[in-house]
Symmetry: C2
Subunit: 520 residues, 2 copies
């Protein structure tokens, strides 16, 4: 039997804090040497969660055990780059380490897994624990799956929306009407916001647009706007620009708005799980936190869109309306055509080119992008009590055709530090051609988006796909359907190999085979 | 716009493999320097999963990005300790790194989340991907939650059991009757296996008992047996001992039996989620892989046991019987009293002391532990076709009282390298006393187990709780209810602080208030 001799005295010791130059993304990791006295005494184990505290500050991290004193010594406690930054203390600060209990709100998650309905207090507790970094990735996955699919009823979606909204700061623009729009996503090239915001602001309405970067798509609005100017603005810069221009088009990632949502997304994305309730709570809490009072939601429907059937779109619309009403948000939902990409370019540079072509009223500008942007902008203009119902579209068109939208866009770009420049797509290109002649009867959004990503978008701004044929257009055998741009040889090869296996295009006999989203 | 110049030539390069002395437990982690050309080219991101390959070997790991060349240099690819060991290649071997696709079987997990029934092929694919380390912790959590609670119907439990069994090796003892037992757990001090195995082996039946170490409890059978002898045996040692003695009591962790289960448990445990179906598949696949042909399942029922109601126990019994029958296992279920700990000691040394007292027929030996072990051993003896139904208990008692069980245990201990020794419990002790006089009407299994763990069990073998009073016994005010042993001062203080808040004991007026498990 081994009975270790108890050390002469073992007060709750401290360790010296150290920054370990390892980037573990959103997961806090603590590093402890295997010979560290506290590690041995407490019976810690790798992957356990520990609580690190000093000077009233506290953080939680997953433990990794180190056998190399050059990484952390036995008298040190290492924190991964982000965890160290968020903890905010100097290196060598004495810290205490204890075993972290499982967050208390995991009891609620277990009840949810067991099929119970959770209360507002439960969602509040879960959200706060997530923001405090008390949930491991596994625990977040458990929460997401338990409330996935139809796991949440509408009162729970409301409770989750409130809890997420309360988890962070909330902007107040001190204006009665703050407009915004959001698209459910899944449609490549759908960069309407960059046309709508200038139109709406030119009309005088306030539209401080903060957007995301691409998560699984080849470009988010923030990625595309970044081709033209800076999108990573400080809160002060953002307010100054909006005060001057009535609009901005910025990246929303720096503000601490609904932070629980940002953390959950870092798990939701790699898992690829979808939940209507989670999605609605996520979108609406973000918009409310950003100070929006009026919101237009765009739900594209198509065979390869996120929403594939009209009935699902209508169900989603009702849930949006219900939560919006209960949260005091003026919310409208518009169901749009999601049967193919919008515009021609897919990828930041190619999309920015299309947007600017529409704003400049160029003849070659993609008609569908222009049309959709005007339709949505018209609906937003009708949020203005002074605009007569049904007149929004005409006003939006006037603003666009008169050049006022372009002028507003240029002012916004200048305010965001933009420089005039030309659009340079990736220099490595190949074309995918039609095997046979006929009519384009289907374009798979997912596949063309995947090709654009493989080609390097959104990391490589100039990478992407440029569509040369759209639904209903005639093609001759061997005619090019789209051109792929890449900046790096390996990306180019990946994209080409993928496109050779599946072009994403279906060529049929006649235009009658083209499906309308209204029939889905 | 930033258009990086493509490097002159960028063949799919290789990196030099390096062992990074960081223990990340069961999660494979790969370390790549931020300036590494492949990292930059591929657009990897921290926490992405990468595929590392060389010489036909392949492994999957989660990526951490490093800014410190002393950990990994720009031309190196680091792997965490376990990942490096499992990969099995020499340091400096050139390896290729690519972005890992999400495991294909995650499609099935998503279907399960959506409420679908999965097929045998789905479970096979999931299990194989898990064993290949293709699942991240998050993905495993998603799978566990999706099939948690009543998420699996019985055909699915059968499919999962088969898939887990097939995921690893399978022992064959070349005998028609290989007996085993398993307890659902949750009852501290329940060390019947260490009495049953010697009795059964003394009768001549084969009982190669492999047990687990404590996961969330203060001691597993392997932890307690380790007080007496070695439990970490090689497959060859194990076979030699079983051939000579007809039994062993060893740790089951080294064999690659149902490895998918071991990996899933590493997620299930910290999450604290329970699933009947998962549990049954886990237990039965392990037992079948270990070559058992006859199995006795013990389901203790009690207000603070894992199973709290008779109806739940009966439901579980039926599911066990169904799967057992379909898998060709002769399986019996026995429902036992789980209203309080079994025996007196809780913690490895204290439990080993109780077990040996029973085997030595000492007068002071805990009667309940003796009684329960005889009852279970009797049922196992009745698996022997030559034992008349109902006579098993008497045979077991004869074997115990004659000293043949003790003789067999001593032979097993000697074969497993045990040395005679005395039992030394932790030197730091305190007693929890009754606030008022009366009768012990309830003992909370969970709370006394927690106190034993806080005191240091099972890591510190001598730590634990020694119960001085059990259900139905009279106590005077101030009389001791139990004694806590610890080896370290800090553990001692933790345990004392916790016990002061909640002793785990309820003192009532009369013995009539004691609940029987039969009424639950």
């Amino acid at each position: 039997m081994t009975t270790p001799t108890p050390p002469a005295s073992r007060p709750h010791g401290t360790l010296k804090l150290r920054r370990v130059a390892i980037d573990t993304y959103r997961e806090n990791v603590a590093y402890m040497h295997r010979e560290c006295e506290i590690y041995r005494a407490e019976g810690f184990q790798a992957l356990m969660k520990v609580e690190v505290s000093a000077n009233g500050a506290k953080t939680y991290a997953v433990l990794n055990v180190v056998d190399d004193a050059t990484i952390v010594g036995p008298d040190e406690l290492g924190l991964s780059i982000d965890a160290f930054g968020r903890f905010g203390l100097e290196a060598a600060t004495p810290v205490r380490v204890a075993q972290a209990e499982q967050p208390r709100s995991m009891d609620a998650v277990r009840r949810k897994i067991a099929g119970e309905r959770l209360t507002q207090a439960d969602y509040r507790a879960i959200t706060l624990d997530i923001v405090d970094n008390r949930y491991s990735k596994m625990e977040m996955a458990a929460f997401l799956v338990s409330s996935g699919q139809n796991g949440l009823d509408r009162e729970e979606v409301l409770a989750l929306t409130r809890a997420m909204l309360e988890s962070g700061e909330r902007l107040d623009w001190h204006e009665p009407l703050v407009a915004d729009k959001h698209c459910i996503g899944g449609i490549p090239g759908n960069r309407t916001s960059m046309i709508i915001a200038p139109i709406v602001a030119a009309h005088g309405m306030l539209m401080p647009k903060t957007s995301s970067r691409a998560i699984t798509s080849p470009a988010g609005t923030a990625d595309t706007m970044e081709v033209l100017c800076k999108v990573d603005l400080t809160p002060v810069e953002l307010h100054t620009i909006v005060a001057a221009e009535r609009a901005c088009i910025a990246w929303g990632g720096t503000a601490r708005l609904a932070p629980a949502d940002d953390i959950l997304i870092s798990v939701e994305r790699p898992l690829g799980i979808d939940s209507q309730g989670q999605m609605i709570a996520s979108i609406l809490s973000k918009k409310l936190a950003a100070g929006s009072t009026h919101l237009l939601i765009d739900i594209p429907v198509g065979p390869s869109a996120k929403v594939r059937h009209m009935r699902e779109a209508v169900q989603l619309r009702k849930l949006f309306e219900y939560i919006g009403d209960r949260m005091g948000l003026h919310l409208e939902v518009i169901i749009t055509d999601g049967c193919q990409p919008v515009g021609r370019g897919i990828g930041p540079v190619l999309e920015a080119r299309d947007v600017m072509a529409v704003l400049r009223n160029e003849e070659a500008a993609p008609a569908d992008l222009r049309q959709k942007a005007l339709r949505l902008a018209g609906r937003i203009l009708e949020f203005d009590p002074d605009v007569r119902g049904g007149y929004g579209y005409a006003i939006a068109r006037d603003i666009l055709e008169s050049g006022r939208a372009l002028g507003k866009m240029e002012a916004i770009m200048a305010a965001q530090g933009g420089q005039p420049q030309s659009f340079v797509a990736g220099p490595l290109t190949f074309e995918t051609t039609a095997q046979s002649g006929g009519v384009v009867t289907a374009i798979d959004n997912y596949i063309v988006a995947r090709i654009a990503r493989l080609a390097g978008a959104p990391m490589d701004k100039g990478a992407g796909v440029d569509l040369l044929k759209k639904l209903g257009e005639r093609v001759a055998p061997g005619e090019a359907l789209y051109r792929v741009h890449a900046e790096y040889r390996s990306d180019f090869e990946f994209a080409r190999a993928y496109a050779q296996q599946n072009s994403g295009y279906t060529i049929g006999e006649s235009a009658e085979a083209v499906v309308s989203y209204m029939d889905l």
